[in-house]
């Protein structure tokens, strides 16, 4: 059933292309209306950066889920399960457990001690200009890598679903996504972005629930039966349900898996676009509540991807999935087509269109969050505090934020157009590894270690940033393997695809050594302020109300 299904899928998409385009269009129009409405209420810098800081814990939890569940989670994980069985599921566990680091150590102290950016907390006790420059650089690097992955994914996905195969068409799609995200962020600011993310989260959960229900219906709601069918249909038998198909190949791939696992679990609490979401609620208590909601929503979602992925493996053949997209990224939409009644049926076409529109919404909401994180950091950390030395007016700062959004949007359209054939998963894992190596050590040391100094922060941020990026540059992700970005050349010397195993401990070590060898004494008064504020929230509620 391999080629006929795929051809039929192609036919179904072309027959029902007006429907898919109408659903995409409806989402775009709805989100633009929200954006304009939010834009009218965006007057101050606190509105632009933090949506006024008055969202509820539940709203923010929903928006965090919308910000976090990227196309890589939705399409990537279900595709990876469909192709590699159990090993695909390992990703989602790391992505979920990571939230406990955010809940226990980061969310509340961050809410209490910062206002708009990650740099607010990193630079709190330190000399402002060097640390804000470092924090801004690392924010922009992490966000751009993440952004590139989403843009490349958008190009692949949307062109496949709309049947656009020409290079010009793919570039046009990437440009459309880029222009939309610029509009969302410049006009709607954090408030508009938050609402777009909430709408997307609801759509994603509803769409996934529907497909999960339909798959389970086919297997009498018996998970064991579903797994058995997936194992048989995959041709790999019981091995499909056990770890090892993807990462168990060699001693090196096992080491790579450990590296990936560490990066996933420590990366989340260092992702700037996630961290700034904690500023959109008024108190630490609300920040805690939002993480709890996010853990519930994201956990439920990943549980459903198990059904989605094994369902795809049970209902479609591996060849069908691979023929459509080598990485398995279209397994979820193809499964939607199948459970809707199969190729050629109206039900199948409608479900395919719905799931495609959900995937498109997912990408748009995530890129908007990433763009906002990087332009906020540029405007607030680098422009206002480094270039203008804290003397910029609120108006100037907001103008800088809007212009940097346009600039970052244009840069990511250009890079996304160039990167449209790159390995998406590699870029996302890199973003997590960089976040865990460059950002997390400094966040934790800043909040909890009295002797941490400016030099320690700089060594840790730049050391983690440079080591992780350099290791990836000379890894098989970039050259020397069949799946590399550059084919036909080989300049790799680092054997692992994920740098986390080396760069994360290095980031922590450098922060410690940098402080130890510092000539400058840590600022005890500033640490007292930071520590007392971070645990008690002194001055937070008042700061939000103006």
């Amino acid at each position: 059933m391999s080629t006929p299904v795929l051809l039929a899928a192609g036919n179904a998409t072309s027959e029902h292309r007006p429907l898919i385009i109408a659903l995409f269009g409806a989402f775009v129009v709805a989100t633009l209306v929200i954006t304009v409405w939010a834009g009218r209420q965006t007057r101050s810098a606190a509105d632009f950066y933090a949506g006024g800081g008055q969202f509820t814990g539940f709203q923010n939890g929903l928006a965090i889920s919308g910000d976090y569940m990227s196309a890589a989670s939705f399409l990537g994980i279900s595709g990876a399960i469909a192709l590699y069985g159990y090993d695909g599921f390992l990703y989602s566990i790391g992505f979920l457990v990571a939230w406990l680091v955010a809940l226990l150590l980061v969310a509340e102290p961050l809410r209490n001690s910062g206002r708009f950016t990650m740099g607010d907390v990193l630079a709190y006790r330190m000399r402002q200009r060097p640390v804000r420059t470092a924090a801004g650089t690392s924010t922009i690097v992490v966000s751009i890598f993440y952004l590139l992955a989403q843009m490349a994914g958008a190009g692949v996905l949307v062109s496949l679903l709309l049947g656009i195969t020409s290079d010009g068409g793919k570039v046009a799609i990437v440009a459309l996504v880029g222009v939309l995200m610029i509009v969302y962020v410049t006009i709607g600011g954090m408030k508009g972005t938050t609402w777009v993310q909430m709408v997307k989260a609801v759509l994603l959960i509803a769409g996934t629930l529907l497909i999960t229900f339909l798959i389970l219906l086919k297997f009498d709601f018996n998970l064991s039966q579903l797994l058995g069918a997936a194992a048989t249909n995959s041709g790999k038998g019981d091995a499909f349900l056990e770890p090892g198909l993807k990462y168990g190949v060699s001693a090196l791939s096992k080491l790579d898996f450990i590296s990936l696992g560490i990066a996933l679990v420590l990366g989340t609490a260092g992702l700037p676009h996630i961290l700034i979401r904690f500023y959109t609620v008024p108190t630490a208590k609300a920040a805690r509540k939002s993480v709890n909601w996010a853990i519930g929503i994201i956990g439920a979602f990943y549980l459903m991807t198990i059904v989605l992925g094994f369902g795809a493996a049970a209902l479609l053949s591996g060849d069908t999935i691979k023929a459509s997209n080598k990485a398995g990224n279209t397994a979820a939409p193809l499964t939607a087509l199948e459970v809707g009644g199969g190729a050629g049926s109206t039900g199948g076409a409608i479900l395919l269109a719905v799931i495609s529109a959900v995937a498109f919404a997912t990408i748009l909401a995530v890129v908007a969050g990433l763009t906002l994180a990087s332009s906020s950091s540029f405007a607030h950390d680098i422009y206002a505090n480094v270039i203008k030395r804290g003397k910029a007016t609120e108006k100037e700062e907001m103008r800088a934020a809007r212009w940097s959004t346009v600039l970052i949007g244009i840069v990511s359209i250009a890079l996304g157009a160039l990167a449209r054939d790159l390995n998406v998963a590699g870029l996302v894992a890199l973003a997590f590894a960089v976040a865990a190596s460059a950002n997390l050590p400094t966040i934790l040391y800043s909040l909890f270690w009295k002797r941490f100094t400016t030099q320690g922060a700089l060594w840790s941020i730049y050391g983690g940033l440079i080591s992780s990026v350099v290791l990836v540059l000379f890894s098989p992700v970039v050259s020397g393997a069949p799946t590399s970005m550059f084919k036909g050349v080989d300049f790799h010397w680092f054997p692992l695809e994920n740098p986390g195993l080396v760069s994360i401990p290095l980031g922590f070590l450098l922060g410690w050594l940098g402080s130890l060898f510092s000539k400058e004494e840590p600022d005890a008064g500033k640490y007292a302020e930071l520590e007392v504020k971070s645990l008690t929230g002194v001055g937070v509620a008042a700061a939000v109300k103006h």
Binding site: I93, Q128, N385, A528, T536, G537, G539
Partner: protein, 124 residues
């Protein structure tokens, strides 16, 4: 403590509209006080060991997946094997720890933090 504290020096990172906040001296005094010390102990003695525990449990799961294939492949019932049960166990412990921490924070941390905050904001 003086009730007529001089206007605190403005923090360079705050917008001009930032409200008056306690002075650095007040923060140092609170930080060194017994009450804040207890809040810090109550928070750290709960959050730090729990963090180490869930990271160790997660790493154990990663290592088992890597190096204990036979054990992970053992069928528990039907086609459900140990690997799936342990994977779902990670979900369950994540939900459980989130709930435990939130309960601890609501019962033990929030009241202590509130007392300190209200007093400091009242004085400032």
């Amino acid at each position: 403590m003086a009730t007529e504290a001089p206007p605190p020096p403005r923090n360079g990172t705050e917008a001009p509209s930032a409200p008056v906040s306690p002075t650095t001296e007040q923060f140092v005094e609170v930080q060194e006080g017994e009450e804040f010390g207890e809040l810090r102990r109550t928070y750290r003695s709960f959050a730090f060991p729990l963090t180490l525990a869930f990271i160790a449990w997660y790493l154990l799961y990663v290592l088992l997946s890597n190096y204990a294939g036979g054990f992970m492949g053992t069928k528990v019932f039907g086609n459900i094997n140990v690997a799936l049960v342990l994977g779902l166990g990670q979900f369950a412990t994540t939900f459980l720890i989130a709930w435990l921490y939130s309960r601890h924070a609501a019962n033990r941390l929030d009241p202590k933090a509130e007392v300190i905050r209200e007093r400091m904001e009242g004085e400032a």
